[in-house]
């Protein structure tokens, strides 16, 4: 795709984000769009946000579960950018009715890095060595594409459908938890709606972070010390609306909660 078209789609997504009005899938008008094109659009979108004062503080990894990979017919994850304007405090109220289009909550494990991770060649062990702590996390994803009718290119261009995120009440060294088997319990309005375990994300959340470091490394990008990395959902996505209260508990790590208004 030409730079001109890429810029045009970045602006369309930016405007959809700011006005909370969804647009048609980009792949509908651009059936030949590649995943590389989509990442260019995503970067353009992020630059528009940065120009308005947002600051990138990390990355998110998406499309990490077999179910979502099969749905999108891809066999690799994707990533988006996290900014300082996407964070809500644990237990805080997130105004979904004025800020989001079709929000869905995902329970995840967040990594906070203490050292840079520059791929290729990043192993699980390197991820553990570079991680300050892991934390329980809710990611509230949203799609600026109408009715979530996304192909992989659509979600990549739309910053991996990222919305907001909430970090939980505890931070634990990754040396103290088996991240592949730790269990996750998600409650909505006091009722358990799903359970999962670390292995739901590419076999282990460590694999997800290693994938991201190695993928970015090919483009000369580095995961930086201090960055927050959301490693991918361990449970099915749950639609949420104003009035809902959600809580996630992760074995050996802690819990996080969020209210929606």
């Amino acid at each position: 795709m030409k730079q001109e078209q890429i810029d045009q789609y970045s602006r369309a997504l930016f405007s959809a984000l700011r006005s909370q009005s969804a647009i048609d899938p980009l792949t509908q008008s651009e059936p030949d769009m590649t995943i590389e094109d989509a990442y260019e659009i995503s970067l353009g979108l992020m630059n528009l946000r940065i120009a308005e004062g947002e600051k990138v503080i990390g990355k998110k990894i998406g499309v990490t579960s077999k179910a979502v990979q099969n749905m999108l017919n891809v066999h690799q994850p994707d990533f988006g950018y996290l900014t300082d304007q996407m964070v809500y405090a644990n237990g805080e109220t997130l105004p979904v009715s004025t800020q989001m289009i079709a929000p869905r909550a995902e329970g995840e494990i967040a990594f906070v890095l203490k050292r840079d991770l520059a791929g290729p060649g990043i192993t699980n062990a390197a991820v553990i060595a570079a991680t300050e702590c892991v934390m329980p996390c809710f990611e509230i994803v949203d799609s600026r594409i109408r009715d979530w009718k996304i192909a992989i290119q659509d979600t990549v261009a739309d910053n991996a459908s990222c919305g907001f995120f909430v970090l939980g009440d505890r931070a634990v060294s990754p040396r103290l938890v088996d991240l592949s088997t730790c269990g996750m319990v998600v409650e909505k309005n006091g009722q358990i709606i799903s359970t999962g375990a670390g292995a739901a994300a590419l076999g282990s959340p460590l694999n997800c972070v290693a994938w991201l470091a190695n993928t970015l490394g090919r483009y000369g990008m580095t995961l930086k010390a201090g960055e927050v990395i959301l490693s991918g959902s361990l449970v099915p996505l749950e639609p949420v609306s104003a009035g809902d209260y959600m809580r996630v508990d992760i074995g050996g790590i802690g819990s996080a909660s969020v209210r929606f208004a």
Partner: protein, 262 residues
């Protein structure tokens, strides 16, 4: 309805033969549409009595329909139970012969081993924890004796809640120092992750399933004896297995247990 003694004996023999010969039968409610819960448990207890009369020991119990999804699917608001006979158990890292089974499936569970008796009514999760010696990871092999796993509630109770084989192992844990809601499990077949979940999938906490068992048994004036092993209910969906499959369960803080199907 209540079945006559003769009808119960005949149904028990019919279902036990299906198990022992590994041949599927039609669900029994096709012929006895008015059977109720009590009839169904009477059939199950008659199968149990037949086995004990031949020298088989009953070593514990299993809970079934412990997830909200399964209860809704079957239209009930309580789980069901079955018994575990001594020959259901297989040593970890061993083999299970599928020749002896009809259409086996495996599920990830937490097993409780008791150190003191548990009785209802009024049994609660705290009493379960106090009476539990330790918990351990378990894989239950279920094998409905009904064609295509097609059954209703009454039929499955009579069929000993599809109980057939199980294996346990790994690292045992004391329930006192374990968060029994967030134990994650990863069920793998032939090296591939098939199912994941956390223990809260069992009624919010598997200890609750054991308390319900004690309370349900009280209706028949029975207790859970000390030294019993109890499979508390499936955390994951059941996955079919066949000869040649290797199944491994990994559980958070509890190591792993594996088995070959031959």
């Amino acid at each position: 309805m209540s079945l006559s003694k003769e009808q119960i004996a005949a149904l028990a023999e019919h279902l036990e033969n299906a198990e022992l010969n590994a041949s599927a039968v039609k669900k029994i409610t096709d012929d006895y549409p008015d059977m109720d819960f009590r009839d169904a448990y009477n059939v199950q207890y008659e199968i149990r009595r037949r086995k004990e009369a031949r020298g088989t020991r009953i070593i514990g119990m299993k809970m079934g329909l412990t997830s909200r999804a399964k209860m809704e699917q079957m239209g009930v608001d309580t789980p069901i139970y079955g018994f575990l006979a001594d020959y259901f158990e297989r040593a970890e890292s061993g083999e299970i012969s599928v020749k002896d089974l009809i259409h086996p499936k495996v599920e990830a569970e937490i097993a409780f081993v008791t150190k003191s008796p548990l009785g209802g009514p009024g049994c609660n999760a705290a009493q379960v924890i106090a009476a539990t010696d330790f918990i351990m990871p378990a894989v239950e092999v279920i094998d409905s004796r009904y064609e295509n796993f097609r059954f209703d509630l009454v039929s499955v109770i009579a069929d000993n809640a599809s109980s057939s084989r199980f294996f346990t192992g790994g690292q045992v844990l004391a329930p006192m120092s374990t968060d029994m809601r967030t134990i994650g499990v990863v069920l793998e077949k032939n090296g591939q992750v098939m199912e994941v979940g956390a223990s809260a999938a069992v009624l919010g906490n598997p200890a609750t399933a054991i308390a319900m068992l004690a309370n349900q048994l009280a209706e028949r004036d029975e207790k859970i004896p000390a030294g019993s092993i109890i499979l508390s209910g499936a955390i994951t969906a059941a996955i079919p297995v066949e000869a040649g499959d290797n199944v491994t369960l990994r559980a958070h803080g509890m190591g792993s247990v594996s088995m070959r199907f031959v």
